[in-house]
Structure formats: structure tokens, C-alpha cells
């Protein structure tokens, strides 16, 4: 349902609805989208907006996610702002197109409702779907709640469309825990968003006066140079992300910290690193343990790509032990987030003080108790206890 005419900007929305409002505020020209649980509410709300003239855009009923991304790319080619949303199997199905879009530098924004992948079939949340897209060249951000989801859709366009970046952005929001949970969300005013995000004048679009071929074949002699430029764009994005966060905060009063956000880390002895909805629960545990006098801290990893490698390099001499929560595992090794952080820490020799916790697979709850257990294991490590490098939390046996 669309709530009409309110005096306040606050509304009680679930995460999917927050995303739909975020998209609406960005005035995309074209939205090709295909439904999949738990993203479907985004599809439904946007189609309601369009059906009621609350949104003026070309809403396209594509016949697959692969086509959704193809159509978004076609729209971006002609200079239009494009938005789409998907999840899990749908994201996997568009995998090929993710490379096309980033490689030809189309600043498309997509919401992904994090859900596990079959088999075994399951519709609930973990981050296997998006983590598996690591090397597709998309910027990936993970949000903690509906408010951040809405805000990050807006910021995502500002980042993607920046001249120094021109790289697509995937906004990841945990399936069900966030997509279907209602919270009070502040919906920014349209005119404020218009000021923050002016109409899109793409530099990477067709121009009949200067016809160009896009997304063409680049032979061995040239291909590597295109890739190098993608890497440069990702490096540039680190700075742009911080700038956009500041600019957004100045305008709307909400700052998110850019690539990472620290929570009570200043004098922390042990810290946990995580992404997405788990952060909300962890904050509560940190507060409780702090009340007990335990020096615990929390790092919210917001951007998985570009990866804040400099930040993690600097972290090793500040804390005694670190836990990394992965809502996924790369079978045969460890969690993908843990691998990245450990490689940043490698030169510091700190890796022996790191535990990778695999948790929250396919929607399994990560309870406060589990998080407390993780912190206690980290304290154990600082006291010389033996702890396995890789641990499944909340396993039946």
C-alpha cells in the first residue's frame, strides 16, 4: 500500500519499500525488473507508483533477469538513468550481464536482496549471491536497515555517475531480516534529492554527432588497458564514496562513514567485523558487554568493493584479536570477507589473532548469544586459548 499525504516525512516501511522510495526519488528513466522473493515488494511498489502517476518512468516487464540487465544497459547507452532490483537466483542469472555493464562503464544502480542460492533450495538470507559476484566489477555496498537502504540508493547514483567512477553500484540488503522488517524511515523531500542528485547527463552515451561503438571487442593488444582503467575507477571510488557520504550527511543529516563504520572501537581489545543486518544486533551486544566493562568493538564493513584495504592494514596494531563474520563460505577454504581482510593483514603477522565465523546461512538467526559467544572466543584467543581459525556458529552438530 502506498501511504499518501502525511505531514511528517517519517513512514513505517519495510526494507523493500524503502528501496522503492529511494528509487522513486532518483527519478530513473527506465526500470526493467523481474520479480524474485524477497525483492518482490520493490517490484510491486514501483509498479504501483507508476500506475498512480507518482512516478514517471518506463517500467518494463522483462521476461528474465538477464534481460533486465540487458535492457538497463540499452537504456544507459542512450543516456537514460536506469534502475533494477533482484536477488539470489536472479542475480546469478544476470551474471554475464554484470560484466558487460561494468566493463562498458554504465552507471546503473541495482538493489540486491541478499538470499542464498539453490541447492538446497531456500529463499532466506545469506550473502552468497552477491559475494559470488565479487569479480564482476560492480561496486558493492551492504546496508544495515531500511533507512540506510533508501539513502544508499540515492548515494549509489551519485557515486556511479561521478566522472571519476562510471561504475555500476549494487546495493545489498539482507533478505527478510531487512527487506520484510518494518521500521520508521525518513523519506527525503523530492526537491532536496533533486538538488543532491541533478538530472543525469551521461558522458558514456550515444551521440549522433560523434558516433561511437560501445562495449566493442578489445583484442589482446588493448584489453588489459581497459581493465586497468576499471581498477583505477574502483580506486577513485574510495574517495568519491567518502565525499558523497559527507555531502549526503550535510544535506540530510545522516552520515554513514564511507567504506566502513566503527562502533565503539577506540579502545577496543577485540572486534568483530560484519556486513549488513547483523550489525544492528551486534551493536546491542557491544553495548551490553561494554556495560560489563569488556572492551569490545564492532566494524561495519559497508563497501566490499572497492575494499577498504588501507583501513584494515591500520587496524592490526590497534586491537588484540579480530573476528570476521561471513554469511557465506567459499567451500574448500573460508569466508570470502575473511580472506580479503586477512590478506590485508598479512604483512602485519596478525592473522593468528583472527577467527572467521561462518554464521547466518540461509536465514539462520545470528542471535545476541551467538555474537557474545564470538566475542568470548576472541577474548579466549587473547589469553592464549586454542581457537580454530574457521568456526561454524549455530550449527546443529
Amino acid at each position: 500500500m502506498i501511504n499518501k499525504s502525511k505531514s511528517s516525512n517519517l513512514d513505517f516501511l519495510n526494507g523493500d519499500e524503502a528501496v522503492a522510495y529511494g528509487a522513486k526519488l532518483c527519478r530513473p528513466h527506465v526500470i526493467p525488473v523481474y520479480p524474485i522473493t524477497p525483492q518482490t515488494i520493490v517490484v510491486e511498489r514501483i509498479s504501483e507508483f507508476v500506475a498512480n502517476k507518482l512516478m514517471d518512468c518506463e517500467y518494463i516487464h522483462v521476461e528474465s533477469e538477464h534481460s533486465a540487465m540487458c535492457a538497463a544497459m540499452g537504456a544507459s547507452l542512450v543516456g537514460a538513468r536506469a534502475f533494477t532490483a533482484t536477488s539470489s537466483q536472479g542475480l546469478a542469472y544476470m551474471h554475464e550481464m554484470l560484466h558487460y555493464v561494468s566493463g562498458s562503464r554504465f552507471p546503473i544502480v541495482m538493489m540486491n536482496a541478499n538470499r542464498t542460492l539453490a541447492a538446497p533450495w531456500n529463499i532466506f538470507g545469506d550473502q552468497r549471491d552477491s559475494l559470488a559476484q565479487r569479480d564482476t566489477g560492480w561496486i558493492q555496498v551492504y546496508v544495515e536497515n531500511g533507512q540506510e537502504a533508501l539513502d544508499m540508493i540515492i548515494q549509489a547514483y551519485a557515486i556511479a555517475e561521478d566522472d571519476r567512477v562510471y561504475t555500476p553500484v549494487m546495493v545489498n540488503i539482507d533478505g527478510f531480516v531487512n527487506t520484510h522488517t518494518y521500521e520508521l524511515v525518513d523519506i527525503p523531500q523530492q526537491n532536496d534529492v533533486d538538488e543532491f542528485l541533478p538530472p543525469f547527463k551521461s558522458k558514456n552515451a550515444i551521440d549522433f554527432n560523434h558516433p561511437r561503438s560501445f562495449c566493442m571487442t578489445a583484442s589482446t593488444e588493448w584489453n588489459m588497458e581497459f581493465r586497468y582503467q576499471q581498477q583505477q575507477a574502483m580506486d577513485n571510488a574510495k574517495k568519491v564514496i567518502e565525499e558523497v557520504d559527507k555531502k549526503f550527511g550535510d544535506k540530510f543529516g545522516r552520515y554513514y562513514g564511507g567504506l566502513v563504520e566503527e562502533y565503539r572501537c577506540a579502545d577496543a581489545e577485540v572486534i568483530l567485523v560484519g556486513m549488513g543486518s547483523i550489525i544492528g544486533t551486534s551493536r546491542i551486544v557491544v553495548d551490553k558487554m561494554r556495560d560489563m566493562g569488556l572492551k569490545v568493538g564492532l566494524v561495519k564493513l559497508r563497501f566490499y568493493r572497492p575494499f577498504p584495504v588501507e583501513y584494515f592494514k591500520g587496524l592490526s596494531n590497534r586491537v588484540k584479536a579480530m573476528g570476521i563474520i561471513d554469511r557465506d563460505i567459499s567451500f574448500g577454504y573460508e569466508g570470502a570477507v575473511a580472506s580479503d581482510i586477512k590478506s590485508a593483514l598479512a604483512s602485519s603477522g596478525f592473522c593468528s589473532k583472527v577467527i572467521n565465523f561462518i554464521a547466518g546461512i540461509a536465514g539462520r538467526d545470528i542471535t545476541k548469544e551467538y555474537i557474545e559467544e564470538m566475542y568470548n572466543k576472541l577474548f579466549g584467543l587473547t589469553q592464549g586459548h586454542d581457537e580454530k581459525e574457521l568456526q561454524f556458529i549455530g550449527l546443529r552438530w
Binding site: 528513466h29 535492457a71 540499452g74 537504456a75 537514460a80 558516433p211 566493442m216 571487442t217
Partner: protein, 298 residues
């Protein structure tokens, strides 16, 4: 009617790297001469994209996008929607896709785009196999053809199944305009292209594109082979418009299929039995054509 003296001297596709005698260059070149410079071309993986968009030697002087093999229909949808949303109404979006990119991997996207009624022109240039990857069969490869993955052998006469009827698949969508054509009949093709310019919604042209390399004939025989396909009834020129099919060429008597087959290496292995199979298939197709489209229109 298109007149040669009125055709533009401008070339929108030139300098490409197709094999000598390939029908593909003619098709792209003539199509763009008709549509003009305010055209955007979408090209999926295929010979067409491979021989025209190798950085840094770009062969189109209109904007173009090289695309995923399966996505031509959808990318045309996106271009068309993006233009519409920005109030641009005088631009043609043109897809140039092979038989594999259209009838196999791209059929879903094409069907979706046609069903939605999006505004675009789609040309399927049909060289009857996956040429770009080295002549593997597609669902539009004719029965009996030798390809690299449907080879003839002691237990095989080559491609087992007759060619799928793409034209009728498009008709089943009640598309505003669909046609078959041949690179050997340039006027017919250009007139059909001309029609697509004024119609709104999806327009589809399935054009035969003889391929000297994959079919095995000398590079100076492209037009002759294209003509023989029509004269022997192995291909036909037709149009679907306003709910009706019109045959553009109705040969009084069909020439023997052997005249067409014998000139091509891909059919050289055939014996009397298998040629009979091809003849029977052609005859049954023509029975259907005559019953449905020729007699009913009289």
C-alpha cells in the same frame, strides 16, 4: 519503392573484416542506408559483431553496442525505452543478430520484446549455423547439412532436423510486421526495410545470408546461391502485415533441390535417399505455404 538513384552515397558500415563474398556486409550496409544516420545498432556475439567492432577499428559510422549473445531483444527494449523516456522519437533502434543469436539463445529475449510491443527493428541474418565459433549447427541449420558438430559420417547424414520456422514464430506473436528476405534480392530487402521505418512497434526481418566459408562455395557465387535457394524453394520471400501473409516471389515450378545442394560443400556427402528427405521436407513446407498463404489470399 526504393530507387537506387535515391539511395544515399553515405556508407554507415564499411571496412569490415568479413570473409570475401559474405552476404553479411551487404545486409548491414543496405539496412543502414535505408534507416539513415539516426540509427543505433545492437549486435550480439556473432560474425556480424566480430567483423565490425574490433577496437580500435570501428566500422559503423552510427552508434553501436556489441552485446551479450542472448540479449539482443532486451537491449533493443532498453534503448527504445530510454529514448522514449527522454522524449526522443526520431531514432531507429536496430538489432543485427545471427540465426543462433535469434532462434536459439536469444529467442526468449526476442519473444519478450515482441510480446511487449517495444519499438525496434530486428534483423536476423541467417547463415544457417554458428559461423563465428566455427560452423556449429543451430536450430536454423537445414536438414542434411554437414556442420562441425553435426558432421556426416557412416552413421550420420549431417544435421538431423529440418530448419525451424522463425517467421511463423514471429507471426504467432501477432507482430506488426515480419518478413523474410535474402541478400541476393537487395531491392526486396530494401523495400522491406523501408516499410519498417514508418511502423511503430516491433518489426522483424529474417534474411538469408549465404556464407561462403561455412557452406563451402566460391566467394563469387554468393548471389547465385542466394537466388537458387529461392528458386528451388529452399527459402522463400514473404511478408506478414495486417494479419496476412503475402508471398513476394512464387516460383511457378520449383527447380530441383539438387541444383542448390550440389554447389555447396556442406551438402556434398548426401546420397539419393537423403536428398529425397530434403525434397520431401521442401515439398511439405510448400504445401503448407500454398494452402495457408497463397490460395487463401486469392
Amino acid at each position: 519503392m526504393v530507387k537506387v538513384k535515391n539511395l544515399t552515397d553515405k556508407e554507415y558500415l564499411y571496412g569490415h573484416k568479413a570473409c570475401p563474398g559474405c552476404g553479411l556486409g551487404t545486409i548491414g550496409r543496405l539496412a543502414l542506408k535505408i534507416l539513415g544516420e539516426r540509427t543505433i545498432v545492437a549486435l550480439p556475439a556473432s560474425c556480424m559483431s566480430t567483423v565490425t567492432t574490433q577496437y580500435p577499428q570501428m566500422n559503423y559510422s552510427v552508434p553501436s553496442l556489441t552485446m551479450a549473445f542472448a540479449g539482443t531483444g532486451a537491449v533493443l527494449t532498453g534503448m527504445s525505452a530510454g529514448l522514449k523516456a527522454q522524449g526522443v522519437t526520431d531514432v531507429h533502434v536496430l538489432g543485427l543478430a545471427g540465426d543462433g543469436g535469434t532462434a536459439d539463445i536469444g529467442l526468449q529475449a526476442l519473444s519478450g520484446a515482441v510480446e511487449r510491443g517495444d519499438d525496434f527493428i530486428y534483423i536476423c541474418y541467417d547463415n544457417e549455423a554458428y559461423m563465428n565459433t566455427g560452423v556449429q549447427r543451430s536450430s536454423l541449420t537445414p536438414i542434411g547439412a554437414n556442420t562441425t558438430n553435426s558432421p556426416s559420417g557412416t552413421a550420420s547424414y549431417g544435421e538431423k532436423k529440418p530448419k525451424k520456422n522463425l517467421f511463423e514464430i514471429m507471426i504467432a506473436h501477432r507482430i506488426p510486421y515480419a518478413a523474410t528476405a535474402s541478400s541476393a534480392y537487395p531491392y526486396d530487402f530494401m523495400n522491406k526495410m523501408e516499410k519498417t521505418k514508418s511502423l511503430r512497434g516491433p518489426k522483424f526481418i529474417h534474411i538469408m545470408c549465404p556464407c561462403p566459408t561455412g557452406w563451402g562455395f566460391a566467394s563469387d557465387l554468393t548471389v547465385e546461391i542466394g537466388k537458387l535457394a529461392v528458386e528451388t524453394g529452399m527459402w522463400y520471400l514473404a511478408e506478414y502485415e495486417n494479419g496476412k501473409v503475402k508471398m513476394n516471389v512464387i516460383p511457378k515450378t520449383l527447380k530441383p533441390v539438387e541444383e542448390y545442394l550440389i554447389k555447396q560443400r556442406r551438402f556434398r556427402h548426401l546420397n539419393e535417399d537423403t536428398i529425397k528427405l530434403i525434397r520431401e521436407h521442401r515439398d511439405s513446407e510448400w504445401r503448407i505455404i500454398r494452402e495457408r498463404w497463397v490460395l487463401s489470399n486469392c
